[in-house]
């Protein structure tokens, strides 16, 4: 008992303060009111958590403060939206990524001899960046004047009608040419990424398997390209639920792949130099924001319709009856609560426990936890930490993108939401303690609930037990509440609630 107190003193004190404040505020409210506010807060918290957990893991393991995390969140949301409402974009761009990937895979294994040449051994760094620059130039050339906005025109599909796709898309020949060019531009990139030394992973790969992988990627890209018209009809003909699941999978996959690419290209060459990494992620934020606005427009989209599980116009008595009735809202102590938000809460808890189990019970989780404590020691023990770094970066980005997809039916999608969520995630991670997984959960929970009560405080005021009049705050107060909480926590406990002492 005493040990429990000593180990978790700050957590317990925080909990007591939190419960006290909660009791003081809710004392004058009806149960159904505060219950629904609490649920709203937890909804928000589970969205924050999906962004914050990745941020916290990445910082804990690699000391990288990723400022582009919010952009990945938005990207996930947009990819999900495209999958769900307008798959034409996917059918017209996926082949490009696949052929680029095929080129990179191929050159990465067969480019090893390149680094053995006497001439290149002197200036590997310049050759490395030169190859990447060459690849970037080729990519730019092959994507020149690609009519992305016309392909991505949402106006038609938003009504739900049949979309005439023929005129917006480029002819098949041009698309094939672009794909071939992208395959070629993937080659220098792959050579740049090829391992330099014998003992590095990947150099002893079976060449037949590499060829097969590249071939599969190419054929897959070609198939998607050739089947783009029937494929789109098929996708739009699928049931809404199935499409939503597909959106979740593809959105988070896109985020994870982007995260892995960012780690390999931008972060990996600069370990041990956190300021450079931070500044590079800032540059990525500037560039990525522009890409997102260029592809999907600056204006944003209204919330997309949730899947059919959450759309029947009725109110279910309880959670269990909802499974049969598929109502839009669920009765919580006599007050309607949107059922989609229950789904968000459910998904947040699911992800929290799944990643928790991964961290606690699996070998890779053990390596991650050890890496957070002392990554050099882990490396000395013969474990390839770099690969784990990439994996964690991909995992964190994938979680953020997943958060983006599930936020889309709830909040809509607009480019600026990345910055908002990123700031909240930063605050939550700092409150909980940088690099602590449970800390991220506790921090987001505090923030979400504080924000929900703050919004209620603004909308209808709060009767405090020791005051006669109803207090009512301005909207600014609700916005600033999270920042204030962070300032207070940091001034009392500089390393956050779960943070290690310095």
């Amino acid at each position: 008992m005493k040990k429990l107190w000593q180990n978790n003193r700050s957590l317990i004190i925080a909990l007591i303060i939190f419960l006290g404040a909660f009791a003081a505020i809710t004392q004058s409210m009806e149960a159904k009111v505060w219950a629904s506010i609490l649920l709203s807060g937890i909804t928000l918290a589970s969205l924050y958590f999906l962004v914050a957990s990745g941020l916290s893991l990445i910082f804990g393991l690699m000391d990288v403060l990723n400022f582009a995390h919010g952009s990945i969140f938005v990207l996930g949301a947009y990819v999900g939206l495209s999958t769900y409402a307008n798959p034409r974009l996917l059918f017209n761009t996926l082949p490009f990524f696949l052929s680029l990937g095929a080129g990179i895979t191929l050159a990465r294994s067969f480019g090893v001899p390149f680094w053995r040449l006497k001439r290149t051994q002197n200036k590997p760094q310049w050759f490395f960046w030169g190859l990447i620059a060459l690849s970037l130039v080729l990519i730019t050339l092959s994507l020149r004047e690609f009519p992305i906005r016309a392909i991505n025109a949402f106006g038609v599909t938003a009504v739900g009608g049949i979309v005439s796709t023929a005129e917006a898309q480029e002819p098949m020949g041009t698309m094939l040419l672009r794909s071939a060019l992208l395959f070629i531009s993937g080659l220098p990139f792959g050579i740049a990424l090829a391992p330099r030394e014998d003992y590095q992973e990947g150099s002893r790969r079976n060449p037949g398997r590499v060829l097969l992988t590249a071939l599969i990627l190419l054929i897959l890209g070609l198939a998607i390209l050739l089947l783009r018209d029937p494929g789109e009809k098929f996708m739009l003909g699928l049931s809404v639920d199935l499409r939503f699941v597909l959106a979740l999978v593809l959105g988070s996959l896109a985020g994870a792949l982007l995260g892995a690419a960012v780690e390999i290209v931008l972060i990996r060459p600069f370990y041990g130099n956190p300021v450079t990494q931070l500044v590079l992620t800032l540059g990525l934020l500037i560039a990525l924001t522009d890409v997102i606005e260029g592809v999907w427009g600056e204006e944003g989209h209204p919330p997309m319709t949730p899947p059919s599980l959450f759309t029947e116009p009725c109110r279910s008595e309880s959670l269990f009856s909802w499974f049969g009735e598929k109502c839009r809202s669920i009765d919580v102590l006599g007050r309607a609560f949107p059922s989609y938000r229950v789904f968000i809460i459910f998904l947040g808890i699911l992800v929290f426990s799944a990643v928790g189990v991964l961290l606690r019970r699996s070998r890779i989780g053990m390596i991650i936890r050890a890496g957070v404590q002392d990554s050099e020691m882990v490396q000395v023990l013969g474990i390839n930490v770099r690969r784990v770094f990439t994996l964690v970066f991909a995992l964190g980005s994938g979680l953020a993108a997943l958060g983006g997809v599930i936020a889309a039916p709830f909040l809509g999608v607009y480019p600026a939401m990345g910055g908002i969520f990123q700031l909240q995630a930063f605050i939550a991670v700092v409150i909980g303690g940088m690099g602590s997984y449970p800390g991220a959960a506790v921090g987001t929970l505090i923030l979400g609930i504080a924000r929900a009560f703050g919004d209620h405080f603004v909308a209808s005021g709060i009767e405090l037990p020791f005051l006669e009049t109803t207090l009512r705050g301005s909207p600014a107060l609700a916005k600033a509440s999270t920042v204030l909480i962070m300032a207070i926590v940091l001034l009392v406990k500089p390393a956050g609630i779960f943070g290690k002492k310095e």
């Binding site: 910082f59 403060l65 960046w129 931008l266 060459p269 130099n273 956190p274 300021v275 450079t276 931070l278 500044v279 590079l280 800032l282 540059g283 990525l284 934020l285 500037i286 560039a287 990525l288 924001t289 522009d290 890409v291 260029g294 910055g419 700031l423 930063f426 605050i427 700092v430 940088m434 301005s474 909207p475 600014a476 916005k479 600033a480 920042v483 204030l484 962070m486 300032a487 940091l490 001034l491 500089p494 390393a495 310095e502």
Partner: protein, 391 residues
Amino acid sequence: MTSSTTNIEDAPLKKAWPQWWPYLAVLAFLILFPFLAGLTIGDPSAVEPGAGWLTAVAQRTESGYAKFWQGMLIQIFIWGIFALSYDLLLGFTGILSFGHAMFFGTGAYAVAILIDKHVSWPLGWALAAVILISLMQSIIFGVLSLRVKGVYLAMVTLAFAEMFFILSEAGDFRKYTGADDGLHGFPVPDYLSAADHRTRFYYLALIFFVIVFLAARRLVNSPPGRVMIATRDNEHRATTIGFDTFRYKLIAFVAAGVFAGLAGALSALYNVSITPALLSTDRTIDVLAMTIIGGVGTLVGPITGAVIVQLLGYWLERWFGSSWTLIYGIIFMLIVVFLPYGIIGTLRARSLRLKEGWGRWLKLLGIKSEGDAAFASHTEMDNGDQPPGQS
């Protein structure tokens, strides 16, 4: 980086006259710029018929592209001061702050609100108040945020700046701050209006810029400035020697805050408009980018960065239209990758290497003694791999 003795910023003016002449040349160019611009790119049709030649030149400097480029230089002065103040934190004390826009924006808001119709103070009083406000603000938030270090400090300052941003957007003070619209067209005195007397404003900004540069140079070379640099390089060691590093970090914080506040006030007077965007994190990112591009830990670097970012922004926007930020982001990343010490920092390291090679060659010929070459390689070591601003 600044600890090497060959830096211009360290050398006293009298002894290092030859090293000063590029700076004086730039200053002379800046002083002459309005006249040169007026004579070359000014609009000849702006001259009233029958005016004397002096009046004619004056009228031409207030017209056409001459006026535009003076405006560009005024922006560069303002941002240069702001970036310089940021570098006092990041480059000379090793404090990574993400809330520096807080001071810039507060300075702008303070001067605008104080000379606006609800308060309508004279400009001199308002500027004095700006200094006082930014002094108090930087002391308060410095004491609060310097309790923590590294990334935590970045986050705390980010949060404080966000608080001011929210405050500036809040509807409760709409009467004074104009909420999310900001204030536009507040009564700047006629004799200082940048629209009518661009050249006058230009010289004011230039004088202010030079004063801040010299003040920053004085601060960096003073004993407290040396302790600031020691804190940046190794805080633990500085504490062990017996310095109260908190105090010196606070000095840097306050100096940076006051300079940034004054830059903000100047910006408000020049643009005659303020918006909450002045307080947003994007401005801090801008100024961070300028400092990194120019060279962290140098005085000339951030100013160079301000020049480059302003001009780059202008040209890129003209060439690429709305997608210029993508190009800007990529260029920014390339500079960070290829010039890790920024433009000025990398140039300096290279010139040192040149000097070292030169010394070695002279030694081979028997002209130079052993000690000089050893000294040269020692200063090279000082410019070594540890980048400043790392905590």
